[in-house]
């Protein structure tokens, strides 16, 4: 279906350029982060990468801990690829694309232990905080995953605990207390088309990818989550190169926070 487009994209890559004139490993400019865009959320952020725009809201809910971790709080990540943002998205429960996006962002935060779950415990065995992260796409011009992940991180930084008297939460009043957040895990997706690697794909480029590797890394450069997608296999050499690119780009993106 996209034979011509793929040929053209590869032709441009061989000339070290892309459909919008960028270099293969260049992110769109500007990358902007706006904090506190939703006053009803405990924390929120809006991220724009080129024309792609995502809003993430964080809500803090009190619940019972899981039986096997009575002294730990937890997170929950949901993503909605809103039909608002792309004519091909349909209304209804999250499809596999949204589910994968949410789970990849979740893993990056959870596995890096970026949130100290022990500090989210209120009363062992009875009450813990659950940090609920909701990702909503506003305008999809490619690379929703990286934009969502950056916005999730920014929303976590923006979050403040609501007033809690030990019994009930008063969502109308926020405290100054931030979330116990460190390490700033950030996933970046690297894409393989032909023999070329690119980052920050446009919508048209997303139609012709052969393989993609999303790599989450911490501020220190350690890897904390990975996800391979796409139909084509990758050699270990390619994986090594893609990991380096992702870690490098994550450092660059963190500068926008």
């Amino acid at each position: 279906m996209y034979r011509d487009l793929k040929e053209h994209v590869i032709k441009l890559l061989k000339a070290d350029t892309r459909l919008d004139g960028r270099k293969p490993l260049e992110f769109r400019k500007p990358v902007t982060v706006e904090y506190g865009v939703s006053k009803t959320a405990e924390g929120s952020a809006k991220v724009k990468i080129g024309g792609t725009e995502v809003i993430v809201g964080v809500k803090l809910e009190i619940m019972e801990p899981y039986p096997d971790t009575p002294d730990k709080g937890t997170i929950m990540v949901g993503a909605e690829l809103l039909p608002l943002s792309n004519p091909e998205f349909e209304s209804g429960p999250p499809g596999i694309q949204a589910i994968e996006l949410a789970r990849v962002v979740d893993r990056g935060i959870r596995e890096s232990k970026a949130l100290d779950f022990k500090k989210l415990c209120i009363k062992e065995g009875e009450k813990i905080w659950c940090v609920v992260i909701d990702i909503c796409s506003i305008n999809d011009e490619g690379n929703l995953l990286d934009a969502s992940a950056l916005a999730a991180l920014a929303a976590l930084k923006d979050a403040r605990f609501p007033k809690f008297d030990g019994d009930k939460v008063d969502y109308a009043e926020k405290t100054d207390e931030k979330l116990p957040l460190s390490r700033e895990p950030l996933p970046v997706t690297v894409i393989k088309i032909g023999d070329n690697f690119i980052v920050d794909p446009l919508t048209d480029e997303e139609k012709v990818i052969e393989a993609r590797l999303t790599v989450a890394s911490t501020k220190e450069g350690n890897l904390c989550a990975m996800q391979k997608g796409g139909d084509a296999p990758l050699t270990t050499d390619e994986i090594s190169k893609m990991v380096d690119i992702a870690v490098d780009k994550a450092k660059e993106l963190r500068g926008a926070l």
């Binding site: 279906m1 011509d4 487009l5 053209h8 000339a15 350029t17 459909l19 004139g21």
Partner: protein, 229 residues
């Protein structure tokens, strides 16, 4: 006796009062309500004698007979192809309109046009229910190879083409690219990568500033600057 309220080349919103009294006539995009003429869409006013018309600034392509458009094959059927034409309405290309060659019944139609192929076609018929027939028989009508497809709003196409093709010719000359413009807003560009990108950016600039004055000079200056780099 009648008062013209809207200025020439003004941007007006639906429901905005353009004229009062019976002196003026409601042209396309406008309508009369009692003693007033009101805007019937978001548009740019154009006063032609006593008639007030609106030029559309946005809106999807509605197929018109005799338009040359670029479409994409999305289905290969028993006796023809279904073509997506960047419109709420799809088009049909039947075997008999595909080529002057004789196609035998039961022949493999994908040998002629396959899924994903982009075609330059001409609309030969549109019914009242907006069923669309297209034909590939005619000068310039062909399957496209290579190059890239750019999408602009259909209402900007006249500015991209220019008077007697002057604007698009200027872009072709400056960038050395082959360019085919479809009335439905799809534009095919083929050339050397840097020049292709310049052509794309130039066309996008025309689309953004289509309703402003002095466009031709601005574009000429832009092309001069970009191609000297």
């Amino acid at each position: 006796m009648g008062k013209l309220i809207a200025k020439e080349k003004a941007i007006v919103v639906p429901g905005e009062v353009l004229a009062e009294g019976m002196d003026h006539l409601p042209g396309s995009g406008t309508y009369r309500e009692g003693e007033r003429i009101l805007a019937g869409k978001l548009g740019l006013t154009y006063i032609d004698g006593r008639t007030i018309k609106l030029i559309s600034l946005s809106g999807r392509y509605i197929p018109k007979r005799n338009d040359t458009i670029i479409g994409k094959v999305t289905d290969v059927l028993m006796s023809g192809w279904r073509i997506e034409i960047n419109s709420p309405y799809t088009a049909m290309l039947s075997m008999k309109d595909a080529t002057s060659d004789f196609i035998a019944k039961g022949a493999d139609l994908t040998k002629y046009f396959n899924l994903g192929d982009h075609l330059v076609t001409k609309i030969v018929n549109v019914t009242s229910q907006k069923l669309v027939d297209v034909s590939m028989k005619g000068p310039g009508l062909r399957k496209l190879h290579g190059g890239r497809i750019l999408e602009v709003n259909t209402n900007k196409v006249p500015r991209v083409i220019g008077k007697q093709g002057s604007m698009v010719t200027m872009i072709k000359d400056a960038t050395g690219c082959r360019i085919t413009v479809g009335q439905n807003g799809l534009i095919w560009i083929d050339g050397e990568p840097k020049m292709e990108l310049t052509a794309v950016k130039t066309i996008q600039k025309i689309a953004e500033e289509s309703h402003l004055s002095g466009l031709t000079d601005k574009i000429k200056a832009y092309l001069d600057k970009e191609t000297k780099k």
